[in-house]
Structure formats: structure tokens, C-alpha cells
């Protein structure tokens, strides 16, 4: 049934003005991401600049919400963006992507990333503990990470591709929210499947119930696997029709993506100019 409902969102037809407004919103919600062993300060600079100015100013495209990098790259991103940047710096942490490291190491990593200038921390949950049934340990690690993050926003990656069932996703979402997550996030992008619409829907439903139970709005970040503008709009439709207008903001909804941005920009240009676009007209991140 989650599949069926999710498929219904993909049937919405988003045209003309709705398409343009939606795509710009997608850009504003994007955590532009690079997570590779070969990342360098130079590559991070490309990414940051792209996040600040995704397209030709004539298209009036907003900045991206954040850049998302490995802990070692945080200080370069912060240096490039400066202290008052509209683009946030998000750091993956806690032994990303596997999380198979001792807790003190993971917490140390988080503290370091925040000290280096990260204002958002994307942690991974302990799937080993979760699947072994030690849910309390999962909770405690998230709570400890929240504490270590200090002022930074905490996004909790469930790695739904490893949890597999919707019941697991729902339970992990509840644990994460109760343990202090500001956002819950589907995936690292390193495991397939990454974000899917049904999984995201289950998480949005968990967020909805948590809101009615506690009064706190938790954010949602699908990450990985969202490659084109059409898919991104389907996710927006899902948020709009599941959680409503209040969640249609970068403060409560993000996309974790790298190749998505330019496809969105091409669609924006097509909507504005009327021409089908080619990739050479859009800068690489």
C-alpha cells in the first residue's frame, strides 16, 4: 500500500508555473553533495561556488540549502563559504557510511566537524545494533551524537536500503526522532536502493504522527537515487500532500543529491526559455 500511495504522487502532472516554482523550491532544498575518497579542497570549491550560484542570475534561481561533505572537507567548505553564508555546511559523520566504529571515535569525529564549521551533521545510525535488536543502543548513540553536535542540526541517516522492511524504517524513524534528530534521512547514497518514494512516505508518516504526539516538526531528507527534475517534483508532491505547506521549506525538507541539480536547472531553463537544453550550458559542480 505504501507503494500504491507513493505511485499516486507520481501521477500528478506539474506544468508551467507550478513546475517553475517547484523546481526553484527543489534547488533551495538541495544539499549539494560530494562524498568521495578523491575529494579535495579544489573539488569542494567547485561545489561551494555552484551551491552559491547554481545558474545564470537571469533565471533567478535560489542558492542551494547546503553543501554536504566528508568531515575532512568541512574546514575547506567553511573557508570558501565564509561565516555568514546562506549555504550551510553539512558534514556526514559517525563513521559514514557503515557506522561500524567505536562510539567515542564517532563522537570525536562529530565534535571535530562542528568545530571545523559544520552547522549540520548527517550521522548514520548503528544498523548493526538495530538489526541485532538492540534498539536502545541505537537510541543512545543518536542521543549522544545530538549532544556532541552542539548547536549543529542533526540529520539521522537510517540507511533504509539495509533496514529493508517498512516496519523497520518506521521503527528506526521513531527511535531517531525521539532520540533527538532534527531531520531523518533515508540513505548514505552508498547502498542500493537509496531513497525511494514508498520509504520516504513511511518516514513522512512517522514525522506526521510524531508532530501530533509532541508538537515538534521533524525534517525529512531523501538522499541518493533522485536524479532528475521529474522525480524531485514527485517528492515535493508527496510532502505537500502528506505533511502540507509547513514542510515545504528548506528548514524541513532537503534533497541529498549531486547530479540532480543540473537536471533541475535545465528544466528551469526550458520552462523559462522554451528550448530543450544541453549540458554544456550548465556549469559542473
Amino acid at each position: 500500500m505504501a507503494e500504491e500511495r507513493a505511485a499516486a504522487f507520481t501521477k500528478r502532472s506539474i506544468k508551467t508555473s507550478a513546475k517553475l516554482a517547484g523546481l526553484k523550491m527543489v534547488v533551495s532544498m538541495m544539499d549539494l553533495t560530494t562524498l568521495e575518497g578523491k575529494d579535495t579542497p579544489g573539488k569542494v570549491a567547485y561545489l561551494c561556488r555552484k551551491a552559491l550560484q547554481p545558474a545564470d542570475p537571469k533565471y533567478n534561481v535560489p542558492t542551494c540549502a547546503a553543501v554536504c561533505v566528508y568531515p575532512n572537507m568541512v574546514k575547506y567548505a567553511r573557508k570558501f563559504l565564509g561565516e555568514n553564508s546562506p549555504v550551510h555546511v553539512a558534514s556526514v559523520a559517525t563513521g559514514f557510511p557503515s557506522g561500524q566504529f567505536p562510539l567515542p571515535t564517532k563522537l570525536n569525529e562529530v565534535r571535530r566537524a562542528v568545530a571545523d564549521g559544520a552547522d549540520e551533521v548527517d550521522m548514520v545510525i548503528n544498523r548493526c545494533a538495530f538489526l541485532a535488536g538492540d534498539h536502545a543502543k541505537v537510541f543512545d548513540e543518536i542521543a549522544a551524537t545530538k549532544e556532541a553536535s552542539g548547536p549543529a542540526h542533526l540529520k539521522v541517516i537510517l540507511e533504509t536500503g539495509e533496514l529493508v522492511t517498512y516496519d523497520n524504517v518506521r521503527l528506526a524513524s521513531e527511535i531517531a526522532m525521539q532520540a533527538g534528530a532534527d531531520f531523518i534521512k533515508t540513505s548514505t547514497g552508498k547502498v542500493s536502493p537509496a531513497a525511494t518514494m514508498p520509504v520516504t512516505l513511511v518516514m513522512l508518516e512517522a514525522i506526521r504522527d510524531y508532530f501530533f504526539a509532541t508538537g515538534v516538526r521533524i525534517g525529512m531528507k531523501p538522499a541518493g537515487g533522485i536524479r532528475n527534475a521529474k522525480q524531485a517534483l514527485h517528492y515535493l508532491v508527496m510532502v505537500k500532500e502528506t505533511l502540507g505547506d509547513d514542510w515545504l521549506t528548506p528548514g524541513l525538507f532537503r534533497f541529498g543529491a549531486s547530479t540532480l541539480l543540473n537536471d533541475v536547472l535545465m528544466q528551469i531553463a526550458k520552462t523559462v526559455d522554451g528550448n530543450y537544453q544541453g549540458p554544456d550550458y550548465f556549469s559542473l559542480p
Binding site: 500500500m1 507503494e3 529493508v164 522492511t165 517498512y166
Partner: protein, 290 residues
């Protein structure tokens, strides 16, 4: 030397496992073909019919929930009882209808065999007529027959016992409860059959047998809102039309069976499709997924 006076019996109705007289107090005389007085039998009224429907309705829940294996054993047990008391029935048929003892015996033994035949269907018919349906969506989907509920069976005049058994067995084997309106011409074999059923393990109310005048009961059968189906074996065109009109009252199901009299003695009437006259097909869907 004084001659001993025979004890005369009054045949009663069979409702809810009990043998009441007609609430109307009416009786009819059964006569032999030669015109001799046999015995009196109860002349069922519309209120007797009403009571029989109440008894049948009360019996449906338990009987339909009994396992198919259990229903099969109970019907087989009824055949055992019938075998045991075959002579009694042979005499009853012979004196009522005037046929030879040999002919009457043939009818009784066939009735026993027919009951055995249908007893074997209880746990098979749903295997034959059910289906798992390969729907094009991610659902498990299956269709199974279920008893429709309370069924009125009208038996033809002849063969008074064999036709009654052949019509009633396929109705009750699936879990329905029946109100059987016996042969009008030869009611005594049906009434004796009731006495045999009463000593079998068949729960009270699963089979109720009324004797009397069909035509009098027909409008009440057609009009009764708690009757789910009618199996019309009476073979009377006028009655058939009146019963069918009941369909328009509460959409009760109507099925007619009028084989040639000789066919009741053949395997033609051992027809599993007759079971389907008084079942409903239920289709259930469930999603498949983790």
C-alpha cells in the same frame, strides 16, 4: 380369543430436531393407493413454516462452521442409520405408494447410496469449484464457495423418498440448513425419514421436514425475507412461477430441478453442480509485500 388392536401412529412435523404437531392442529389422512386409510399426518401451516425458518436460521451458524470432514461424517452416519432402518422405509414406501417390495427396496437402497455419494462431496466440492485468481496486481486473490444460508427444498411427489434425499443432500452438505416440503401425495416416507434423521448426528434444525399442502405454503415461502434460496423439485409449473416471484421480493436464489421420474434412479442426479445452486462465491483480496 380377542384380536389385538394395532396401535395407530400420527406422523408429525420435524422442526429444529423436534417433532411438533402442526400449530394449527390440522391433520390430513394418508390413504393407500387402494383408498384404504393408512395414518394421519400433520398438515403444516404458514406458522409451522415460519417456525421451521427460525429453526433453520439458528442451525446455520453452527452447521456451516462445522468442518467439512465433520459434515461428511454426519451425512455418512445418516446413511448408516438409513441402512439400519431400511426395512421400515421399504414398508412405508410400499404401503404408501403401492409399489412392490422389491421396487420400494430399490428406492431405499439408492437413497442410502445417494447419501453416501453426497457425504463424500463435503470436503471436495470446494476444491473443485474454488480458484486462486492470477490478478495483475500484487495481491493474493482467491474465490471459495460458502453456503447461502436457509434453503427451502420442495420435493416432487414421486419418488417420494429418493428425490427428497437427492435434492436435500447437495443443499445441506455445504453447510446450509433446509426446510423440506415433502411429497404431497406420499408424505409418510418423508416423515419416517425424519424420524431416522432425528437419531443420526445431524444437528437439530439442519433439516426440517414439513408435510401438508404445498400450494398453501408457496406464497409464504416466496415472500419470506429470511429465506436465502429455494430449490424447486416439485415439478409443478404453477408453483414454480409463484416461487420464482420470491426472487423479486428479497432476491432469494431460485433453482429448479425436474428430471424425468426414472432419472432419479440414475447417477444423472448425483450432480455436484447442484451444490452450486445454494452456495455463494466469495472472493478475497490481500496485498503481497513485506
Amino acid at each position: 380369543m380377542s384380536t389385538r388392536l394395532d396401535v395407530k401412529k400420527t406422523y408429525k412435523l420435524f422442526i429444529g430436531g423436534k417433532f411438533p404437531r402442526s400449530e394449527s392442529g390440522r391433520y390430513l389422512p394418508a390413504k393407500s393407493p387402494a383408498g384404504g386409510q393408512l395414518d394421519n399426518f400433520a398438515h403444516a401451516s404458514r406458522k409451522d413454516f415460519r417456525d421451521a425458518v427460525v429453526a433453520a436460521r439458528a442451525a446455520v451458524d453452527g452447521w456451516s462452521k462445522a468442518t467439512a470432514y465433520n459434515r461428511g461424517q454426519i451425512l455418512y452416519r445418516a446413511a448408516e442409520m438409513l441402512q439400519n432402518r431400511a426395512t421400515e422405509l421399504v414398508n412405508e414406501i410400499a404401503r404408501s405408494t403401492g409399489v412392490s417390495a422389491a421396487k420400494a427396496k430399490r428406492e431405499v437402497t439408492l437413497a442410502i447410496d445417494r447419501l453416501v455419494h453426497f457425504a463424500g462431496w463435503t470436503d471436495k466440492y470446494s476444491q473443485i469449484f474454488s480458484s486462486v485468481n492470477p490478478v495483475a496486481t500484487s495481491h493474493f486473490n482467491f474465490t471459495t464457495p460458502e453456503p447461502t444460508g436457509v434453503v427451502v427444498v420442495l420435493a416432487p411427489d414421486e419418488p417420494s423418498l429418493l428425490a427428497l434425499v437427492s435434492l436435500t443432500a447437495p443443499v445441506i452438505l455445504s453447510g446450509n440448513a433446509a426446510i423440506v416440503i415433502s411429497s404431497e401425495k406420499f408424505p409418510l416416507p418423508a416423515a419416517t425419514f425424519a424420524e431416522i434423521l432425528a437419531t443420526s448426528d445431524l444437528p437439530g434444525g439442519v433439516v426440517n421436514i414439513l408435510t401438508g399442502k404445498r400450494g398453501e405454503l408457496v406464497p409464504h415461502i416466496a415472500g419470506h425475507m429470511d429465506v436465502n434460496a429455494i430449490v424447486d423439485g416439485a415439478g409443478v409449473p404453477d408453483i414454480s412461477v409463484k416461487l420464482q416471484a420470491g426472487t423479486a421480493i428479497n432476491l432469494k436464489r431460485y433453482a429448479k430441478h425436474s428430471p424425468a421420474p426414472a432419472d432419479w434412479f440414475t447417477a444423472k442426479v448425483e450432480d455436484p453442480y447442484w451444490i452450486l445452486d445454494t452456495v455463494e462465491f466469495k472472493t478475497a483480496w490481500h496485498p503481497i509485500g513485506v
